[in-house]
Symmetry: C2
Subunit: 343 residues, 2 copies
């Protein structure tokens, strides 16, 4: 089996000593200019490069950034959000020739252990931190380690961390504006995991807006799920079968919205005549269902690109910053209409 | 900003010389057992670890594997196939504590350059090679470099490479069995990129099976696309508007199948009464369309898991092997039925 070319290979091919090769390649005195040029030519021919080990020991940058995802690996394939995010991250990193070190971890503890390890072992220059929590141990750890990081989705990162974020509270107001203008007053938000910071912001925003508009807190409320189609369907069935059911449902992702539409169809509740549906993230799924789903459209790939660009800027010596992604835009389609007059 | 703990930090904290620390941590003589124990305790407290640089120089494994994807980054978010594959890869790698170095490259040349670089710089111990081509420069390069690799989707890898693959030819036979049993004799395969080896195997299989069954080669054929919904829709419109249109369409991915279903609806061609549709890869998309799409169901995450496990086995010293993934299974749903009697 072939090997990586070594100093020894270069020495043999160039007919010089290994220390001469070392002097030549490290730009140290001890060899003539002619010999240095010849050694460098041979090294080039053999495809030799200083390895990341040697470069790291010399204090150079590692040239890779990290991303840990603390979710069960099998849930990765469910939502299009994460793939879109990673595709945007890759667009920015590829342009910079920077690979992404990517690992799925069991939980936040395992994620933190990976940060410690990757940093101590010089595997990454910095990390992108996703899925901010309402109580999050990661910012303090990253700051203590001195590991450069950009948080994805945190509007108020702990200094000196950088962040890119989207205004989920404002997006929820847009959704309520749309539904209230149609006449809805009984609205259930089928929320994702409530310990995720962006879910918490949506829940808070719904509560504040409902109060501001004089809507009843028992009739405009959030119910938490784990983001899966199964829990989205179960929550839909539960609220639709209760007394005084909602006339509109707002889902925290596309998969739950589509599952909820199927539940409504199964219960014989026509959409949008008796029930309006809104999906938080638009995707191909939302556009192929019948009726097509009213959805919050945002540039998720662009969000990932922004995050990666910000991390590269930090690594280049830029100051910590908080950057806001483009505001999501509500695209009304066929799944929202005025509530039935009887209600 | 905090730093990674160094030998110097440990020496200062433990009140010993730097060489004593080096002796103690590298298991060399020169310090007493008591001092060695104390130094190790301090190193532990400070979170010190031998960095990957030092370990690599000592010839140890790097502890990461690589994956390069030579596709435009923005197309990543389109298909669920790749995300499912990566989720399976991550399941196996996470269990082994091995991170994945992941980069999107512009083309095969850029992919090959990354292999050279990652190997020379000791960034990876091995790579997973995806999207095998009909003419593929990568196996020869990897063999020449001596970079351990597992090819994903190649039934006949160049020795000594390992491979995991799925039997696309046999799957195409299953699809034709299903459609022929219903009575279809005019079938168009809306194929993906024909320079991908698995697409070529599907196209060959269709041609061979059509001949074996005495079907006309101008009425049972493949038309190539780039896998996008746009080209899938365009190809569908073209063949449906031609004289003697097909009574069945077979799509190489879910996105094109759903786009094709929308084109048929737009042309007023009812599915399945006048046109049957089959999607190669099942996904949530296939199950939420009306009618729900007959699809080839396979365990893509399991395929990714198998590939990663095989690479880990090779890195552990196992022999090169060719392993076949579970055979895809055709799940008939509402989009396939006998062709109309008039045809």
């Amino acid at each position: 089996m072939a090997r990586r070319p070594t100093i020894k290979d270069i020495a043999r091919r160039a007919g010089v000593s290994e220390s001469a090769v070392s002097f030549a390649l490290n730009g140290r005195p001890g060899v003539s200019d002619g010999t240095r040029a010849r050694i460098r030519r041979v090294a080039e021919e053999l495809g030799w490069r200083p390895d990341s080990a040697a470069r790291a020991l010399s204090g150079e940058r590692v040239g890779a950034v990290g991303l840990v995802l603390a979710r069960p690996a099998h849930t990765l394939g469910v939502e299009s959000f994460f793939l879109q995010l990673v595709s945007g991250i890759q667009e920015a990193l590829s342009a910079a020739g920077t690979p992404l070190l990517f690992q799925v971890a069991e939980d936040l503890d395992a994620e933190c252990a990976l940060y410690r390890r990757w940093w101590a072992e010089r595997r990454v220059d910095g990390v992108l931190v996703v899925d901010p929590r309402t109580r999050d141990p990661r910012p303090a750890l990253l700051t203590a380690l001195g590991l450069p990081a950009v948080t994805v989705g945190d509007p108020r990162p702990a200094p000196p961390l950088s962040s890119v974020w989207a205004d989920d509270a404002r997006a929820m107001v847009q959704v309520l504006d749309h539904l209230a203008a149609l006449g809805h007053r009984r609205i259930v938000h089928v929320a994702g995991l409530p310990d995720l910071a962006h879910t918490a912001r949506r829940i808070d925003s719904l509560r504040i807006e409902a109060r501001r508009r004089g809507l009843r807190p028992d009739e405009v409320r959030s119910v938490p799920t784990d983001y899966s189609d199964a829990e989205g369907a179960a929550a839909t069935r539960r609220v639709l079968c209760a007394p005084r059911p909602p006339t509109a449902l707002v889902y925290d992702n596309d998969v739950m919205a589509v599952a909820g539409a199927a539940v409504a169809a199964g219960l014989g509740i026509p959409v949008p005549a008796r029930l309006s549906l809104v999906a938080w993230d638009d995707s191909a799924l939302c556009r192929v269902t019948h009726p097509r789903l009213t959805a919050l459209v945002r540039d998720t790939a662009g969000f990932g690109r922004l995050a990666a660009e910000e991390l590269l800027a930090v690594l280049a010596g830029g100051p910590p910053r908080v950057r806001q992604a483009e505001q999501p835009r509500l695209e009304p389609r066929e799944s929202t209409a005025p509530p039935p007059p009887a209600y």
